[in-house]
């Protein structure tokens, strides 16, 4: 099951979230060598791990096996603050219905293609349910054919550039039933996403963030 964890239910998952920051440190820092993310407490936590973040975490008996993070584009995002040059042609989206997708990871033991697909399907399923229309993301360019393979519609926002020796690009992914069906067919599973606690409303939340940002600007 892939659990949705956000500000409204994180009190149910504090242990899991902490474990997930350690797993991220293991994967992104120790394994993939993104040294800029290294932290002495061995937890990979960045500026976007805050009350606006939503985590989709694959859990097995509360053990974190993989996951990803969603963040509203009505707030400054990793794309707009760290990688705006990757979106130089079309610009970084700012829209309550477009959320940034980041920190996609799978633990070493589960790195078979099928598990990857479950996490991708979960993102489509969750966003479709929430009325999110697109995800935007910064990704390694060689992943593009893999997204194509599972029927995701990926639209580039600019040209690839080298980031830490990897060709990296900014893009959006369409959320739609068709894409979800294709990936569901591949994995032979439905309804991967599990939510405990009060119902989330991402769009309403993103709109609130946006207003606060606008108010901040005019102040």
């Amino acid at each position: 099951m892939i659990h949705v964890i956000s500000a409204v239910n994180r009190h149910l998952y504090e242990d899991v979230l902490d474990q997930h920051f350690r797993v991220r440190h293991e994967i992104f820092v120790e394994e993939r060598k993104w040294e800029a993310l290294r932290r002495p407490d061995n937890r990979e936590i960045d500026a976007y791990d805050n009350e606006d973040a939503i985590y989709l975490l694959a859990l097995e008996n509360r053990r974190v096996l993989g996951g990803s993070r969603l963040y509203p584009t009505t707030k400054p995002t990793m794309m707009s603050e760290v990688f705006p040059h990757l979106a130089a042609v079309r610009g970084c989206p700012v829209d309550a219905q477009i959320w940034e997708w980041s920190r996609f990871f799978v633990t070493r033991e589960r790195r078979d293609g099928a598990f990857n697909l479950q996490l991708m399907a979960a993102a489509q399923e969750f966003c479709l349910d929430q009325g999110i229309e697109r995800l935007c993301l910064v990704m390694e360019t060689w992943w593009l054919p893999r997204f194509h393979d599972i029927g995701f519609v990926v639209t580039p926002l600019g040209l690839p550039a080298l980031v830490e020796n990897s060709w990296t690009m900014a893009a959006t992914i369409e959320i739609n039933q068709e894409s979800l069906n294709v990936v569901r067919d591949k994995i032979g599973m439905k309804n991967l996403v599990h939510q405990d606690g009060p119902r989330l409303d991402c769009i309403a939340h993103a709109n609130t963030c946006g207003r606060t940002a606008a108010q901040r600007k005019s102040a």
Binding site: N116, G158, D185, K186
Partner: protein
């Protein structure tokens, strides 16, 4: 052109690709676009396993006919250093960056030399690595190339989208009706466990006849000749897990 101009042109082209619904039209469009960078020859191809023939892997090409027959007759794909690097690399590269030992690999020397005879003295390759280990590439050749730090990212993206579009045209995704319903998937999954239609009916609390109908519909949608064949296809296409 500035980097942003290269980018705008590439992204406009990519967004327009969907309008070409025949492979020759898509290849014409790609030939014009790659031509603007000086490329004269294009091949869009899967990479053969040891037991596959190169000619069967090609999705589309704009190669001189004579060069293609020479390449396939002499099985140059077995010695071509560009193909070897294409398998090992996720990053695009120039042909000249594909290493080989001129002393120990006369075949590699030959293929690179002969390519130049067909106005392919230089080239650029974009490797494609699919989800299930599928390996492919888009290789572009020519003589006078606009190949630099600004044009390469544009070529990279155009080639990847060009590849995807052509593969889609050649193997259109199954018609929506070909998709199994959750119930059909369920009966096939039980059939794959050796259950009879009667047993499946008992398990799912439906009549044997309904179970048989679900099995028959699933088999028809999968293009299977019988139940066993349907199970085999469903496993192969990962519709169910073995």
């Amino acid at each position: 052109m500035s980097a942003v101009d290269y980018g705008r042109e590439a992204l406009d082209f990519i967004e327009g690709l969907g309008a070409y619904d025949r492979v020759p039209d898509a290849m014409d469009a790609l030939a014009v676009t790659f031509g603007r960078y000086g490329f004269e020859h294009i091949i869009v191809t899967g990479l053969p396993n040891p037991d596959q023939r190169f000619s069967q892997m090609v999705l589309a090409k704009r190669w001189p006919a004579e060069w293609f027959s020479l390449y396939t007759e002499k099985s140059y794909d077995r010695v071509d250093p560009v193909i070897r690097k294409c398998r090992q690399s996720v990053n695009p590269f120039e042909w000249s960056e594909a290493p080989y030992d001129a002393e120990l690999e006369p075949g590699a020397v030959e293929v690179m030399r002969r390519a130049a005879d067909f106005r392919m003295s230089r080239g650029f390759v974009v490797p494609i690595h699919g989800l299930t280990g599928y390996e492919a590439g888009v290789s572009l050749g020519g003589v006078h190339l606009d190949l630099n730090a600004r044009s390469k990212p544009a070529l990279h993206l155009i080639a990847m989208y060009g590849f995807d579009h052509i593969r889609r045209l050649l193997a259109p995704s199954p018609h929506p009706s070909a998709r199994l319903t959750p119930r059909e998937r369920e009966v096939i999954a039980w059939a794959s466990q050796g259950k009879s239609a009667w047993e499946i009916g008992e398990i799912l609390n439906i009549t044997q006849r309904t179970a048989e109908e679900h099995l028959a519909t699933a088999a028809r949608k999968l293009g299977a000749v019988n139940r066993t064949h349907a199970v085999a296809i469903a496993i192969r296409q990962r519709i169910i897990n073995p």
